[in-house]
């Protein structure tokens, strides 16, 4: 059968397509149902965040960087603050560090819940999407009561956090993570025991370890391929070295591993949050030096943290002036979408959709 040649045709998937998660465009060369060649076209969301940041003061950069990766805005706040703190060698109060960890991990859970829903929707099950978002709202409520925003928080500031948590936060947070850890059974019951789901994800779109490392893939996608590399353990920042948690690692690097790994990460994040809430000290939430007109001394550094998609980095150069000389933002999705043509071909279009969903690409991180 294979020698019967048929015409290949080119299909544009995107920029407006339900499963490209934003405005990515994949130019697919297809032979019937099979994708023969993928050519990603990006830039539809290139908003020049880096240029804007060069013309803002340090504090003004933070809300702009919120939009760099809006699903986990806290990480964006944090990575920029951390970069500035490293250049300035600034101390951060203990309480602020704890609050940061709580917020970062809550945001990771929120992001993974969104991933859970969107992936299920891309594979055709609509209901999990709403379940995922339902629990995400609980976390959004927590953020809202802390910083007044649902999506772009502008909470973690240079040298601390912008304001203290309200009294109700702690009980609410404990309740939320309790509900989420109970609902995890629902999520898994809905999909993991479903033979169709297993058939659609197991063994599909395997990303080999070597390819993943060569193309700079990071985060859950890299770990699903069997590489134990999590910056929270391997390049510790903040106070992650004080907490007891595991790094889930996959074996096969297929869609199922990537999906499962994120669900397991939710569990680990819940562990971290519980420990952080238990150990939350009293005290200042901000370094005294941190003001709206903060100026960092000259210096440069590449700072990277582990956000829900992988390595998020900021290359920050300060020349001692009011504004940073250069802010280069690196998002994990940039590498993920770059590696896609190298392992995503010769599969069904349905598998491509599943693959794209489990890579958890988000376009502002790619285009900036």
């Amino acid at each position: 059968m294979a020698d019967l040649r048929t015409e290949e045709f080119v299909v544009n998937m995107g920029p407006q397509h339900p499963s490209t998660h934003g405005v990515c465009r994949l130019v697919l060369t297809m032979d019937g149902e099979k994708v023969v060649k993928i050519e990603p076209v990006i830039g539809y969301l290139h908003r020049a965040i880096e240029k804007v940041c060069e013309n803002r003061t340090y504090m003004q950069c933070i809300p702009i960087l919120d939009r760099f990766e809006y699903v986990t805005s806290m990480s964006c706040n944090y990575v920029f603050s951390l970069a500035t703190e490293r250049i300035a060698e600034m101390e951060v109060p203990e309480r602020a560090e704890y609050l940061r960890v709580i917020m970062l991990e809550l945001n990771r859970i929120a992001s993974h819940l969104l991933f859970y829903g969107v992936t299920a929707m891309d594979i055709g099950a609509l209901t999990p999407f709403l379940y995922g978002l339902r629990e995400r709202e609980l976390i959004i409520d927590l953020f809202e009561m802390t910083c007044g925003q649902r999506l772009t928080y502008n909470y973690i500031r240079i040298g601390g956090v912008s304001r203290d948590i309200p009294k109700e936060f702690e009980p609410k947070c404990r309740e939320a993570i309790k509900i989420i850890s109970e609902k995890m059974a629902d999520y898994e019951g809905l999909l993991n025991e479903n033979p169709i789901w297993l058939k659609r994800t197991k063994g599909v779109a395997v990303l080999p370890k070597e390819l993943a490392i060569a193309y700079g893939v990071s985060g859950p996608v890299l770990r699903a391929s069997g590489v134990q590399y999590d910056l929270r353990k391997n390049d510790p920042y903040c106070i992650y070295d004080r907490f007891d948690f595991d790094i889930p690692v996959g074996q096969n690097g297929d869609c199922f591993d990537r999906y499962m790994l994120r669900l397991n990460e939710i569990r680990e994040s819940i562990k971290i949050i519980t420990q952080a809430l238990d150990g939350l000290p009293e005290g200042d939430i901000k370094n005294k030096k941190s003001r709206m007109t903060y100026k960092a001394p000259a210096g440069e550094t590449y700072t990277r943290i582990e956000n829900s998609r992988g390595e998020m980095g900021i290359y920050l150069i300060s020349d001692g002036g009011k504004k940073p000389l250069r802010v280069k933002a690196k998002g994990a999705s940039f590498n993920h979408i770059q590696v896609l043509p190298h392992f995503g071909t010769n599969m069904f279009i349905a598998d491509l959709v599943a693959n794209f969903a489990t890579l958890d690409v988000i376009m502002p991180e790619v285009d900036r």
């Binding site: 059968m1 019967l4 015409e7 544009n12 465009r25 130019v27 019937g32 149902e33």
Partner: protein, 123 residues
């Protein structure tokens, strides 16, 4: 008279075709009275995720789909034979049963052959 009754009943299909088409065309007509109609070049282009379509979509399509159509024809013919058999089964008895089992088995040899040859696998 008996035959005429039968014919009348089949006539109902013809009249339903007329009625159905008529109603659909009528709703189209009704919509045509009300709806706006404003075609221009951009609107009349095929939708391909807001991009210019590349190449023609009327192509020699992958043969995989046709294989299933061919297999379907074989089995559908079998099913056509099965219908009268099923209707008359009560009267025919054991002979019909054995015969049909043999008939189905022969066809299934074909299916298993195709299976083994990898025809059922989507390559």
């Amino acid at each position: 008279m008996e035959g005429a009754v039968g014919m009348t009943e089949y006539l109902s299909v013809a009249f339903f075709i007329i009625a159905g088409t008529g109603i659909v065309l009528f709703t189209f007509f009704l919509a045509r009275l009300i709806r706006p109609h404003n075609p221009y070049k951009e609107k009349s282009m095929p939708y391909e995720c807001a991009e210019d379509p590349v190449g023609d979509s009327w192509i020699k399509f992958n043969n995989r789909f046709y294989i299933f159509a061919l297999m379907f024809v074989i089995f559908d013919v079998e099913v056509v034979f099965l219908f009268p058999w099923a209707v008359a089964f009560g009267e025919l008895g054991l002979f019909a049963l054995v015969e049909m089992v043999i008939f189905i088995l022969i066809l299934f040899f074909g299916l298993f052959y195709a299976w083994k040859k990898g025809v059922l696998k989507w390559v």
